[in-house]
Each structure stands twice: as structure tokens, then as C-alpha cells.
């Protein structure tokens, strides 16, 4: 029974780690191919938070209950807290220095 439990944990953490890796790759490809600074920022920051959650959840399942899990939880919390703040700071700095986001035109009713 505990064998099945360990197998289930392994499978779950492989799934979490692989999807976290996929999000990381999506973020990288998005930062490379999207046309504008602000769109690239979307790709980088959204996938960053998602990948952080998935990858650290996957590793924590492998680490069990130990000091390493508490450290991993702390790292995850700090990354989730500082990632969006960094995006805010960067977007603000870019806007204040005159880099305008590209809009479609005068009349853009469609969202």
C-alpha cells in the first residue's frame, strides 16, 4: 500500500516538474518572439510565477517532510512575492522614460 503511495507521489511530481518545465520554455519562447517590450513582459512574468509554483511543488513532494521542504517553501514564497514587483518596477521605468506601448489605432472598441 505504501508502495503505491510512493509511486503515486513519484508520478505526480514528474507531472508537476514536466509541466513546470514546459511553462519555463513557453516563457522563453514568448520573450524571444513577441513584438513589443510590454508583450514580452507578459510572457516572462506570467510563466515565471506559474513555473515557480509547479516546479517547487514537484520538488517538495520528492523531499518529504524535512528542513529542505521548509527552505523550498520559503524560496517559493519569496519568488512569488518579488516576481510581480519586478515586473511593476520595470514597466514603470519603461513608461516613465517614454517607451510607449503600441496600440491598434484611434478607434479600438474591440478588446
Amino acid at each position: 500500500m505504501s508502495d503505491y503511495w510512493a509511486l503515486a507521489l513519484d508520478v505526480l511530481s514528474v507531472v508537476l516538474l514536466t509541466s513546470g518545465g514546459a511553462f519555463v520554455l513557453i516563457g522563453g519562447i514568448g520573450a524571444l518572439r513577441l513584438p513589443n517590450l510590454y508583450t514580452r513582459m507578459h510572457a516572462a512574468s506570467l510563466t515565471d510565477s506559474m513555473a515557480t509554483l509547479l516546479i517547487f511543488a514537484g520538488i517538495m513532494l520528492q523531499a518529504g517532510l524535512s528542513l529542505a521542504t521548509i527552505k523550498l517553501c520559503a524560496i517559493m514564497l519569496f519568488l512569488l512575492l518579488t516576481g510581480p514587483t519586478a515586473s511593476y518596477a520595470l514597466a514603470n521605468a519603461a513608461l516613465l522614460s517614454g517607451l510607449e506601448p503600441e496600440t491598434i489605432g484611434e478607434e479600438d472598441d474591440a478588446e
Binding site: P84, T85, A89
Partner: protein
């Protein structure tokens, strides 16, 4: 597999270096330099050198980037156009590179068990550390006790660097007045709410983690250099959020200079205490009745001295640059 990771990271390093050299915008060069530091930290980590990786990440990608940006805010962004010729420097660089490459042919392979460092030096340290000092982290034992003279020299180099910067930029307690005489330059990020809230949440954790790294250096990666850099980062975060004048009120310049000089002096005094108690200079075994406890006690004291000196000098250099903004 790990070798492939290391090779991949090293080739990224070469690409970054080429990009730094060929750009003309110094802001771009500073950002690429912080990427370079992170790549070096990852490389050190892959080579299993955790203390060095921690120092490189804390100092290179953290504090150095901020100090470069503070300096760039005072000067311009564009590099001055080149006036001298290119043939002379090119010849010197190419010939030095060829000589260095020729010298690496004589080096033993990485990780070769028959290399002299692995047959004479490393086993001696690995054998003597549990016997004489009894701490798990052999790097700290070598840095703090077996090669303590070298570390004393490093602390005095940091001290000299701090004094050098103060000579060039001025330690003046009067900051130059702003152009229109207003307090514009000291607001910091106060009117941005999000960085202020998040920064205030993070500062106690950063300082606490710095103290953890300082005192945990004997059991895991850590020590005085890393801790000094991390605590300096915490104070710099406070200076960025609340403005540089608030940070100077919190920890005044006199206290910072006292930290720098005090740290270096503490190290020297521990060495002198060794002489006064009957041993050699920097011999910690005579500090207490039990030589092993004496070694551990000595290492704690000198790591504290190193941490104080590094923290004080990084903050002094930061304030020397940031206080001139607005002139």
C-alpha cells in the same frame, strides 16, 4: 551529463562576454555584466563550489549592479568614441591569449585523481580538519584557520578599496545641493506603493538571512564575505525605497566607517591575542584551554570581523555614489 551542463553554461558565458565588449551603451553593458555574474555563479555551482557561488551571486549580481547603476546615473550612457588605434591593444591581447592557452596544455585534467592538488594538498586538509578544528565545512576551515594570513590580506584589500573610493569621491557629510535646491533627489521610491510594501516585507528577512549565513558558515556554505554582501543588500534596499538620506539617518556614515575599520582591526586583534597568549600570530589554539574550541572561537571572531568590514565598505561605496545624485 553534468559536464554537458557545464560546457553549455561556459559557451553562454563566451557569448555574453562578446556582447558586453561590442556594445556602446554602458547601461546595456551593466545589465549584461549582471547576467555574466549569474552565469559564473551557476558554473561554480555545477563545479560543486558552493561558497564561491554564493559570494559571486551575492556580490556580483546584487551589489555590484546597483553600484554601477548609481555611477551611471551620474555620468552619461554612451561610451566615449575611441580615439586611439586598435592594432596595439589587439596585438597585446592576442599574444597574451596565446601564451595562456599554451600554459593550459601543462595543466592536469579537471578532477584527475593523480593531480598534485589531489594527492598532496587536499587530503591533508581533509584529514586535519576533523582532527584539529572539527567543523563540517572544510572551506571555512581553510579560509579561516589554515590560510588565515591570506584572508587577513583580503580584508585589508577590501579596506583599502573603500578608502580609495572615499579619496576619489569624497567622504563629505555635506551632499552637493540639488540644482533647484529642492529635496527631489531623496524621495526614493516612496511614491511607488508596491515596491515600498514588498520591500518593507523583505528587508527583515534579508538581514536575518545574512546573519544566518554569517554564523552558519562553519556548517554549510557561508561565511563573512557572503553575509556582509547580503546585509549590505538589505540596507541598500532600504535606501532605494525610502531615499538615501533616510538610510544615512538610520546608519550614519560614522557608523559605517567604524564598521569598516573595526572589522579589520578585530581580525588583527585576534591575531595579536594569539601572540599575547603564548602562541604565534593568528594561532587560535591558544585562545582557550581546549585547542579545538579555541580554533572554533577564533574562526567565529574573524568571520565576524570580515563580515563587518565587507558590509561597511560596500555600504560606504554605495553612499559615496548615491549621495552625489542630483548635482
Amino acid at each position: 551529463m553534468i559536464v554537458m551542463f557545464a560546457v553549455f553554461l561556459l559557451s553562454l558565458l563566451v557569448i555574453t562576454a562578446l556582447a558586453i565588449v561590442q556594445t556602446r551603451n554602458l547601461f546595456v553593458a551593466v545589465m549584461l555584466t549582471s547576467i555574466f555574474s549569474l552565469l559564473m555563479a551557476a558554473n561554480f555551482f555545477i563545479l560543486d563550489a558552493a561558497d564561491v557561488a554564493l559570494t559571486e551571486a551575492a556580490v556580483g549580481a546584487g551589489v555590484t549592479t546597483v553600484i554601477f547603476l548609481a555611477a551611471l546615473a551620474l555620468t552619461g550612457e554612451r561610451e566615449r568614441p575611441r580615439r586611439a588605434g586598435i592594432i596595439g591593444p589587439l596585438v597585446v591581447v592576442v599574444s597574451t591569449t596565446l601564451v595562456l592557452l599554451y600554459a593550459t596544455f601543462d595543466k592536469p585534467r579537471l578532477g584527475d585523481p593523480l593531480a598534485p592538488v589531489h594527492t598532496h594538498v587536499a587530503p591533508w586538509y581533509l584529514e586535519k580538519t576533523p582532527e584539529l578544528i572539527e567543523i563540517p565545512n572544510v572551506v571555512t576551515a581553510i579560509l579561516g584557520s589554515f590560510r588565515a594570513y591570506d584572508t587577513l590580506g583580503e580584508v585589508f584589500v577590501v579596506f583599502a578599496a573603500c578608502i580609495g573610493v572615499l579619496f576619489v569621491l569624497g567622504a563629505g557629510s555635506k551632499a552637493p545641493a540639488a540644482i533647484d535646491g529642492s529635496e527631489r533627489d531623496s524621495l526614493g521610491l516612496r511614491h511607488h506603493l508596491i515596491p515600498q510594501v514588498v520591500g518593507r516585507l523583505l528587508i527583515p528577512f534579508i538581514v536575518l538571512f545574512g546573519l544566518y549565513v554569517q554564523f552558519h558558515g562553519e556548517y554549510g556554505p557561508g561565511g563573512g564575505f557572503q553575509a556582509g554582501a547580503i546585509i549590505a543588500t538589505g540596507v541598500i534596499l532600504y535606501a532605494l525605497i525610502e531615499g538615501e538620506k533616510a538610510a544615512l539617518r538610520a546608519i550614519p556614515r560614522g557608523a559605517l566607517l567604524g564598521l569598516v575599520a573595526g572589522g579589520a582591526m578585530l581580525y588583527g586583534l585576534v591575531g595579536l591575542a594569539g601572540i599575547l597568549m603564548g602562541g604565534n600570530f593568528l594561532d587560535y589554539s591558544v585562545l582557550m584551554e581546549d585547542p579545538v574550541k579555541g580554533q572554533q572561537y577564533g574562526i567565529i571572531l574573524i568571520e565576524a570581523g570580515v563580515g563587518m568590514a565587507v558590509c561597511g565598505s560596500l555600504l560606504t561605496i554605495f553612499h559615496a555614489f548615491a549621495a552625489r545624485e542630483g548635482s
